[in-house]
Amino acid sequence: MSSESDKRRRFDTLVREFSTDLYRYALWLCNDPAQANDLVQETFMRAWRALDSLKEQKAAKGWLITILRREHARTFERKVPPLVDVDDVVIADESGQTPESRAEVNMLRQEIAKLPPKYREPLLLQVIGGYSCDEIAQQLGVTKSAVMTQLFRAREKLKVALSAPGGKTGNVHELS
């Protein structure tokens, strides 16, 4: 009985700690709030059923992201998402932003949504997940140098888009 309540307590802690990041990750992965919600719900259902296999609490976030990515691949990757305006998809958390920074952030959102998944996903893992290049490589099953290239390209594309006419003016340095 107490192990059941320990399990429940442990699980509830995971949900409170990681559901927000997981939802954001899922939303940027599939560009659809309803699918993102389903994905996160299903991820935690699977996590609940397999909680005994999580031995170290510090590995929990990576474990949950792995479940979510597999679930996404299993369920949603076969569906080709319709091309939608990101403004219709993303409910922005705009607290504390000036109108100028809001405009820049909105433009950035459009560009992030347009990034090919192979560039977008490492960026999400780094910025939302807080992972190092080594950890991202492990999570995605690619080499560290591939991750570094993808992260470089992702930022490069975003900066180029921001500095284009209509975007924020700024310098983009071409690096070899």
């Binding site: 909105n106 950035l108 960026l123 975003l158 690096l175």
Partner: protein, 254 residues
């Protein structure tokens, strides 16, 4: 680390804790300017990725696992319920008859109203035939806001946005007088079932059906019943008190 390497690091991993990289940030004005520019970009990136999360997401997840856990234990409870010798004559007549008789007897104790075609009879009958199965379905299947609006519109009502978010599952069901709605609501303690019958009149009352309780509420049009475990009666009463404000007849000018 030279300037070119530093710039590449800013593009690849500006969050790196590598000491060479951290030292380079303040090396001279050129390095510092590049670092500031990268910091500003990263801040915008973080702001862009920080999207609003649906309210109550964590609670919904915890509720869903609680329901699954509860349903896993339910067959044992059901078995105990059938074997328990509370109504010997009904047992002799068969398990199905026992369940129906028990339900009808217990609500007749609670209220003198009822009879064929009444809200009370409908609630007992519908709960015993569809209550558990619908809860089980609601543990794995969510209705979208659009689906819920359609179900509600088909019985002539609309829900406030807040109440709509509380509904996890909804479907139409037959009532003694036409179409009704069978909803499952999220509460902090567990799922609660709501039946709405737009053309069946009823007063406000409480009744027991086997191991659950039902609170009947008079609506502006027809009546509703909240069904849940006895421990959730307070939550049910709170929902019942607000139900006429949260579930209103559709405006006719739309």
């Amino acid at each position: 680390m030279n300037y070119l390497e530093f710039k590449r690091q800013l593009m690849v991993d500006p969050y790196s804790k590598d000491q060479d990289f951290l030292d380079a940030k303040g090396r001279d004005a050129e390095f510092a300017e590049a670092a500031d520019e990268a910091d500003a970009f990263e801040q915008s990136l973080q702001d862009a990725l920080t999207v609003e999360v649906p309210p109550g997401l964590a609670e919904q997840i915890m509720l869903r696992t609680s329901i699954e856990e509860g349903l896993r234990d339910q067959p044992q409870v059901a078995q105990q319920k059938v074997v328990r010798p509370m109504w010997p004559q009904a047992l002799a007549a068969g398990i199905f008859a026992a369940a129906v008789t028990a339900g009808v007897m217990s609500w007749q104790h609670a209220t003198s109203a009822g009879g064929p075609g009444s809200m009370e009879t409908f609630v007992v009958d519908h709960w015993q035939h569809h209550g558990d199965a619908t809860l089980q379905q609601a543990s794995t299947e969510f209705s979208s806001a659009q689906e819920l609006r359609q179900v509600l519109a088909s019985v002539g009502v609309e829900a406030t946005e807040e109440f709509l978010r509380q509904i996890r599952y909804g479907a139409n069901c037959p009532t003694p007088k036409g179409k009704g709605a069978h909803l499952v609501l999220n509460t902090e303690h567990g799922p609660i079932t709501l039946f709405y019958a737009p053309k069946v009149e009823s007063g406000t009352s409480r009744m027991s059906i086997d191991d659950v309780v039902a609170i009947l509420v008079e609506m502006q049009s027809g009546s509703a019943a909240l069904v849940g475990e006895e421990k959730d009666e307070d939550s049910m009463r709170k929902i019942g008190d607000m139900i006429n404000e949260n579930l209103r007849p559709m405006s006719t000018n739309t």
